[in-house]
């Protein structure tokens, strides 16, 4: 089932993420029943679908936050569905941002960004701080370096979370409904940040309900329902000429 576990065989012209016949169940309940997907380097892939369709679980499979029952996920040629997987090595390459921000409440914004590079990658503290300040500037949070998460708005916290993930220098970013907990005005500031990332050629996989964003920024849109991919394609085709009735119904409800 696992085709090729060698890391060295991967070259940037191959898919950075290649998912084949992925099955995942929680107890008796099968959340994902046969997902196939491939993401090229620099792509922005948007996954949409009704709640409970397994979108978030799909993202969590990619950085091994949950384990897989069947199938294969290759990240840069490295098979994830193997018992001896070096999860920590995988997660250094794959950043993730969550719906609830999950910043560390006892650390300032700057410390939140610095913690993982200093403690996990053992990088030089002064150099990391320099980079962290630049990253916070990049997500437009100059002046908020010493603020604690509790003192920041939802949108600001989410941008700190994005900077925190970027500080690890990931090759791939996973965004799990990162704007779902935000109020409409702050959604935009987070989306702008992600768009800038996409323009910098970062590979992104997003689970999102922001159709406008998916249409403008996405390179490829996947529609999932009941653990399967119903339909996918570039946004220009997907949003104008969806074929499956379920996709049409979902789009008509949400647009």
């Amino acid at each position: 089932m696992a085709p090729d576990t060698a890391v060295t065989s991967w070259t940037p012209d191959q898919p950075i993420v290649k998912i084949t016949d992925l099955h995942k169940s929680f107890g008796e309940f099968e959340v994902l029943s046969g997902i196939d997907m491939s993401v090229m380097k620099g792509d922005v892939v948007c996954i949409i679908g009704p709640s409970g369709s397994g979108k978030s679980t799909l993202l969590r499979c990619v950085n091994a936050l949950v384990d897989i029952q069947k199938g294969s996920i290759l990240v840069e040629g490295q098979e994830i569905n193997t018992p001896g997987l070096d999860k920590l090595a995988l997660r250094r390459k794959v950043g993730m941002v969550f719906q609830q921000y999950n910043l560390f409440p006892h650390k300032t914004a700057l410390q939140n960004v610095m913690m993982a590079p200093v403690m996990v990658l053992k990088q030089d503290k002064a150099e990391v701080e320099d980079r962290a300040r630049k990253l916070l500037a990049k997500v437009r949070l100059v002046g908020k370096e010493d603020a604690y998460p509790g003192e920041l708005s939802g949108g600001q916290q989410q941008r700190v979370a994005i900077a925190r993930s970027l500080a690890m220098g990931p090759d791939l970013m996973l965004f799990d409904e990162v704007t779902a907990a935000l109020d409409p005005e702050t959604v935009k500031e987070v989306l702008v940040t992600i768009r800038e990332l996409a323009e910098d050629n970062m590979t992104c996989m997003l689970v999102t309900h922001e159709m406008g964003f998916a249409r403008e920024v996405g390179d490829h849109v996947y529609f999932t329902d009941q653990g399967r991919i119903i339909e996918h394609g570039p946004p220009s085709d997907f949003f104008t000429s969806a074929k499956d009735p379920r996709t049409r119904e979902f789009l008509s409800q949400i647009l």
Partner: protein, 292 residues
């Protein structure tokens, strides 16, 4: 039946009671349902003390030179010496219990089933055992000295009593640690994992620092309970305050008019020591309740 209790009845005769209930409920929402030691309680104790002395005064034979208060004054250094011993026992037992209990608590969330299971068992065993029985067990099971070749390490009664008291403290600390760790939102674990923190780094740098605030009030509460439980050591013959009091009374020929003043004095000593701890606990609980 929604809204405050005052709205719950339109019978005029019930209204005063309803108002009182509402006030109590409001107060309990602030402090929790546990009866909190108040300054009033301390004054009450003091009043009993003064009253008992007065009573003893009146009962005493007029031409006898010494009043109960004089007797208490004479014995006070001995009694306070015993009290210092109580405090020392409580300190050491708390330290031992906290160190071992923290390890046990971390063991309870271990990924290794054997460690997790045994930590759970030890915690539950000592948490659900009467303190006095544990005290007796340790007194009887631990020898009075250890011999390693030529060196003899003595194990006097008070050290054994301290170990006996540290056992339930350990089990309670273990549960405090486990509960605090479990109360940290799972998103903190997820985000640490996705940032490639190891489990050890996650626990010590991210989860535990968020737990201290949650752990301090129940931990201080436990300390106050432990301090009051140190008098149990008198039953197994440690020279702490209760033992000293009994001895002083015996030396006074078991004079009955001295009983109440002497034991009231013991009560007041513990109150003076434990009341500020209880107040501080409540204040910390309130402060931490506002913001995480």
């Amino acid at each position: 039946m929604s809204g405050p209790v005052t709205k719950g009845t339109d019978l005029p005769v019930l209204l005063p009671a309803a108002h009182k209930l509402a006030a109590t409920a409001a107060a309990e929402r602030l402090t929790g349902p546990v009866p909190r030691p108040t300054l009033r309680l301390g004054l009450l104790l003091f009043a009993i003390f003064v009253f008992s002395i007065g009573l003893a005064h009146a009962q005493a034979v007029p031409d006898e030179a010494e009043t109960p208060l004089d007797a208490l004054w004479r014995w006070m250094p001995v009694l306070l010496e015993g009290f210092v011993f109580n405090i020392a026992i409580s300190f050491i037992a708390m330290m031992m219990g906290t160190v071992v209990g923290t390890l046990l608590g971390l063991g309870q969330i271990s990924l290794m089933p054997a460690v997790r299971g045994s930590s759970w068992f030890v915690t539950q065993f000592f948490r659900n055992a009467p303190w006095l029985v544990l005290l007796f067990l340790v007194m009887l099971l631990v020898p009075f000295e250890f011999r390693f070749g030529n060196t003899v390490i003595p194990f006097p009664g008070w050290i054994k009593a301290t170990i006996g008291l540290a056992l339930p403290v350990m089990a309670n600390v273990s549960e405090i640690v486990r509960g605090a760790i479990n109360s940290v939102p799972s998103g903190q674990w997820e985000s640490s994992e996705s940032l490639a923190f190891s489990r050890r780094q996650t626990i010590f740098s991210i989860i535990l620092p968020q737990c201290y605030k949650r752990m301090i009030p129940p931990w201080m509460n436990l300390y106050a309970i432990l301090t009051m439980a140190t008098v149990l050591a008198s039953i197994v013959g440690v020279d702490e305050m209760m033992t000293q009091t009994r001895r002083a009374l015996a030396a006074e020929g078991g004079a009955t008019q001295l009983l109440v003043p002497f034991y009231s004095f013991v009560l007041i000593c513990f109150f003076v020591y434990c009341y500020p701890i209880a107040r501080l606990t409540i204040r910390l609980e309130r402060r931490f309740a506002v913001k995480l």
